[in-house]
Structures are given as structure tokens and as C-alpha cells.
């Protein structure tokens, strides 16, 4: 396929992904808006007012970037994992496999689809957060870069999950038992300074720590980890996830018999 045809194929997958999550928006877009509103009310307003300052900001200001990141991570992940697993389950992934479209384009179609949902939800959640706090952005550039890289990383992770999944249980086990704990322990709700040294060190293995802190730096201008380290780690995790996804597609593992 020439470049133009590959582009057409990419846009076809991408558009199909957007259509899918817009069609079922009550399952894809609405839940995050509701959950995050609850978080804002409970942690930000009710409990937050008693916590006082964290990292030099009001608790509400501190927690909002983490919560936005949480929405981006879960949405980009779950979009790809449910959509790609769904296409495996219905057999419609074969529509792609029998066509001449390259594996890279297949991956990009799904990943960019997931990224777009992450971004859309991020916008919704940010708008909701404006009811609770004033948001001033420290660096738009960093915010945009972190958001794009993070949603790409977790869209890729969702893809890997989908390739391995054999049942609908398999696509909820990882989010429940791995992703959610990583998010909660990733410094969304607290500053790394508060952790005992041992747990602070353990946390350094958690990609969410870098994601949340890099984003918090973009919004507030403060971070528990150094920005270059955070970026470096996100790039490394993303590269690994990309390479592994391509490997899965190229080897045909679990997709071709």
C-alpha cells in the first residue's frame, strides 16, 4: 500500500473508534465526568478543606491535575482494551487482518482512537473542575506533551491487554488489580514527600508517579520528581509498550492461529 492508502486505512480505523465511543457515550464519556465530580466534591471540597495545604497549594488545587490524569489514563486504556478485545471477540479483527493494511497502521488507528477519547474526557473533566477551582496553567507546552504521551502509553497498554485477553473477565482484571492501584499509589492524592523512604523508592517503579507529577508540574509548576527524569521514564515506558505491541502484531500471536 502506498502512503495515501495507508492514511485512508488509518483514518478509517480512527473514525470507527471515535464513532464507537460517541455512540455509547453513556458508557464511555459520562462515567468519568460523574466519578470525577464526586472526587472533586469529596476530596477537594469536603475532606480537602480539612487537609489544608499540600506541596504549597490548597488540596483542591493539588488534587485536580492528578484527577484529570487519572481520567486520561483510564479512558485511553479502556477504550483500546474494550474496542480491540471486542473486535477479537466478534471476529471483526479479521476484517483488518485479511486486508493489506500494515500492522503499524492498525496499531496507530486503535491507539490514536484511545488517545482521542482520553483527550475528550480530559476536556470534560477539566471543565467540570472549573466549578470547583480556578485553574491556571503553568506551562501549556508541558501539559500538552504530557497528556499526549500519557494517553499514548496507556492506549498501548490497553492494546497489549486486549491481545492477551481471552474473555471479558481478562479485560477487567488488569484495570482493577493493576491499573487502579498504580493510579491510587501514583501520587494523585498525596505528595511523595509524605511517604516513608522505602515506599517512596518503591513508587519509583510506578509509571503513574512520573505521569502525574509531570502533569502536575505543567499545571502548578511543582513536582515530586525531577521533570527530565519524569519525561525520560514516560518515553522509556512508551517505547517499550510500542515495541511490544508491534511485536505482538508481527508475530500474529493470539490473533492468527
Amino acid at each position: 500500500m502506498n502512503l495515501r492508502e495507508q492514511y485512508v486505512a488509518f483514518m478509517t480505523i480512527f473514525r470507527k473508534e471515535i464513532k464507537r465511543y460517541l455512540r455509547i457515550w453513556t458508557q464511555t464519556l459520562l462515567p468519568s465526568a460523574i466519578t470525577m465530580s464526586l472526587y472533586f466534591v469529596i476530596f477537594g471540597t469536603l475532606i480537602g478543606s480539612r487537609i489544608g495545604e499540600m506541596g504549597g497549594f490548597s488540596y483542591m488545587e493539588f488534587v485536580v491535575p492528578g484527577l484529570i490524569m487519572m481520567a486520561i489514563v483510564t479512558n485511553s486504556y479502556s477504550n483500546v482494551v474494550s474496542s480491540f478485545f471486542g473486535s477479537k471477540f466478534s471476529g471483526s479483527v479479521e476484517e483488518l487482518l485479511v486486508s493489506p493494511v500494515s500492522n503499524f497502521v492498525i496499531l496507530m488507528g486503535y491507539v490514536v482512537g484511545g488517545v482521542s477519547r482520553g483527550l475528550l474526557v480530559a476536556v470534560v473533566v477539566t471543565l467540570v473542575s472549573l466549578f470547583f477551582t480556578d485553574l491556571s496553567i503553568h506551562s501549556y507546552l508541558i501539559v500538552v506533551i504530557v497528556v499526549l504521551m500519557t494517553s499514548t502509553l496507556f492506549a498501548l497498554a490497553g492494546f497489549i491487554n486486549a491481545v492477551y485477553a481471552n474473555s471479558f473477565d481478562d479485560i477487567s482484571i488488569i484495570p482493577t488489580f493493576v491499573l487502579t492501584p498504580l493510579i491510587y499509589l501514583g501520587g494523585v492524592f498525596y505528595s511523595m514527600d509524605m511517604l516513608p523512604e522505602f515506599w517512596a523508592n518503591v513508587s519509583k517503579l510506578n509509571p503513574l508517579v512520573y505521569v502525574v507529577n509531570a502533569f502536575r508540574y505543567g499545571v502548578l509548576g511543582v513536582s515530586d520528581v525531577s521533570l527530565p527524569v519524569a519525561f525520560g521514564m514516560i518515553v522509556i515506558f512508551t517505547t517499550l509498550a510500542f515495541a511490544y505491541s508491534m511485536h505482538l502484531l508481527n508475530s500474529g500471536k493470539r490473533l492468527r492461529q
Binding site: R4, V8, A9, S90, S92, E94, E95, L97, V98, V101
Partner: protein, 305 residues
């Protein structure tokens, strides 16, 4: 002439060590209407799956219109349209979207994709149903939707895996007419089936597959001729002359006292006896030789049941 499909020594061992294909050889000429007939579990879908990249082969070589799938699978895939045995579309999508998206995967521009989708949905009588989610279509409509989807990039080779499964008789006739029409327009067609009647109604050449091996590969005409033929073995009292010959019958002198006679449907055994009697040869006993093909068909039918 470059064959539409050439398969050499194709074998497949599944992960559980089951040997589904044991060295298959096939050649389908361009423009042909070809049947791959065999009972359930014979290896038909495995063969088709390998041709369209859904199953990885264990060994062998496949070329589609001269393009080796190991050298340039994307180019080979452009020549192939595939209608699988199981419904493999997203049941929640609309028929029109399914066909248009498939065109997109082949890189067809959106305008052309829509044009082609409309053309084939109309030809297959699905245009009225284009905006209905696929799960609400009848079995026959779903099958035709997959045919429309397989044609949207106008492949030279159309492969249908058991296209009649779950399609009622009337629908089957109109589907057959459609397939004959596009075959007449130049599309090479291969279909798998376990009904001889379906192969007979449509196909010019046929290969029979059983237990992962091609057991017969011939023209439809020749196959039917063989099926309609019985071979009798006559034990003769007198020595048969070296050049024993009976008008209008194919005979074979097995030894001095044994003669094999082929009798086609409609031919009369009395003529054989008369001719031999005239030559002064008496027949002491007679039995008919098992018809290999017929036996096979009995097995196939039992296997399919």
C-alpha cells in the same frame, strides 16, 4: 497462464499438534469456478484461512495470481476477497458502515468506498437494509453482507467458505445466480462445501479433501461420469481372446479368465452378455467392483452427518 491460485505442499500443524493439512497441492486457473469439497473437519477452512492470512501455515508455498504470499502478502491480499464460514463482523455496526470500512482498509478513497458499497449492497439486495445494525439481519442477509464486503475492493479471486450454511433455498438460488454472474464477468471463484449438489450446480472443477489430503482433483464432468459408472468383474469359463472388445463399453482384460467392464448409467448389461456369448464365452460368476468415489461419498456424507 499464471494460475489464480497455486498451492504446493501446504501443511498445517496446529498448536495442539493436530495435523490438519498434510501436504496439499492445488491449482486453480483464472476464471474458473472451483469447488473444494469435503466433510466437516477435512481441512477446508484451514486451507482458506492460510490463503487469507488468518492461519499461519507450517510449510508449503502459496501464490495468488503469481504473487507469493511469503514475498508480498499485502499485494496478494489485494487479489483476494474472502467470505468466511462464520459471521465475523461487528454485529452492532450498520451494514453500510461495515462495507465502507472494509473499503477503507484497502485504501479506497471515501468517495469510491461509498460508491462501491452502494453498488454491491444493491446487487445483493441489501441496500434497503443498509442502516440496520447487522445483528438484525437474517442469516441469509448476513451472508450476503459478507459477500458485498468481500467484493468492495473488486478482487480477482473470490473465496467463499461454505456460503450456503444457514441460507434458505430461495436465497441460495439467488446467491448462486449472483456468483455465476460475477464469475461470468471474470472473477475466479473458489467455494468450499460439503454438498456435492452445490458444487455440481456451480463449479467447473473440483477437488475433494479429506483428513487434510486432496483425494481427487478433476473436472466436474469427469467426476460425475465416474460417479455414474459401475465396474463389473466377470469370471469367464473360456479363455478370453487377447483383444477382447465389446462395442460401446470400456473393458479391461485382467487375466485369461477375468474381464472388467465399465457400465455407465443407462447402458445395458445384456449387451455385454450377448457380445460375450457370441464370442463363445460363458460367464460363471460376476461381482461389481467397489466404486472408490462412491464409497468415498458415502463416507463423506456419513462424516458430515
Amino acid at each position: 497462464m499464471i494460475p489464480a491460485l497455486e498451492i504446493e505442499n501446504l501443511s498445517k500443524v496446529y498448536d495442539n499438534n493436530f495435523e490438519a493439512l498434510k501436504g496439499i497441492r492445488l491449482r486453480v486457473e483464472p476464471g474458473d469456478f472451483f469447488a473444494l469439497l469435503g466433510p466437516n473437519g477435512a481441512g477446508k477452512s484451514t486451507t482458506i484461512g492460510i490463503i487469507c492470512s488468518l492461519v499461519a501455515k507450517s510449510a508449503g508455498k502459496i501464490s495468488v495470481f503469481g504473487v507469493d504470499i511469503d514475498k508480498d502478502f499485502p499485494a496478494a491480499k489485494r487479489h483476494i476477497g474472502i467470505v468466511p464460514q462464520e459471521f465475523n463482523f461487528n454485529q452492532f455496526e450498520k451494514g453500510l458502515d461495515i462495507v465502507i470500512n472494509q473499503a477503507g482498509y484497502y485504501g479506497l478513497s471515501p468517495g469510491l468506498a461509498r460508491e462501491r458499497a452502494e453498488k454491491y449492497l444493491r446487487e445483493l439486495g441489501l441496500w434497503e437494509q443498509r442502516d440496520i445494525p447487522a445483528r438484525m439481519l437474517s442469516g441469509g442477509m448476513k451472508r450476503r453482507l459478507m459477500i458485498a464486503r468481500s467484493l468492495v475492493h473488486e478482487p480477482q479471486l473470490l473465496i467463499l467458505d461454505e456460503p450456503s450454511a444457514g441460507v434458505d433455498i430461495e436465497m441460495r438460488r439467488s446467491m448462486w445466480d449472483f456468483l455465476r454472474r460475477i464469475n461470468a464477468q471474470g472473477t475466479t471463484i473458489i467455494l468450499t462445501t460439503h454438498y456435492l449438489e452445490e458444487a455440481e450446480a456451480l463449479c467447473r472443477h473440483i477437488a475433494i479433501i479429506n483428513h487434510g489430503k486432496i483425494v481427487e482433483n478433476t473436472s466436474m464432468k469427469e467426476l460425475l461420469r465416474q460417479l455414474d459408472r459401475e465396474v463389473f468383474i466377470l469370471d469367464c469359463v473360456e479363455k478370453l481372446p487377447d483383444n477382447t472388445h465389446i462395442d460401446e463399453f470400456v473393458t479391461r482384460r485382467v487375466d485369461d479368465h477375468t474381464l472388467e467392464v465399465e457400465v455407465q448409467k443407462g447402458q445395458n448389461l445384456n449387451a455385454v452378455f450377448a457380445a460375450l456369448g457370441l464370442a463363445g464365452i460363458n460367464i460363471s460368476s460376476m461381482r461389481n467392483r467397489a466404486n472408490r468415489l462412491e464409497e468415498m461419498f458415502v463416507n463423506l456424507v456419513e462424516g458430515a452427518a
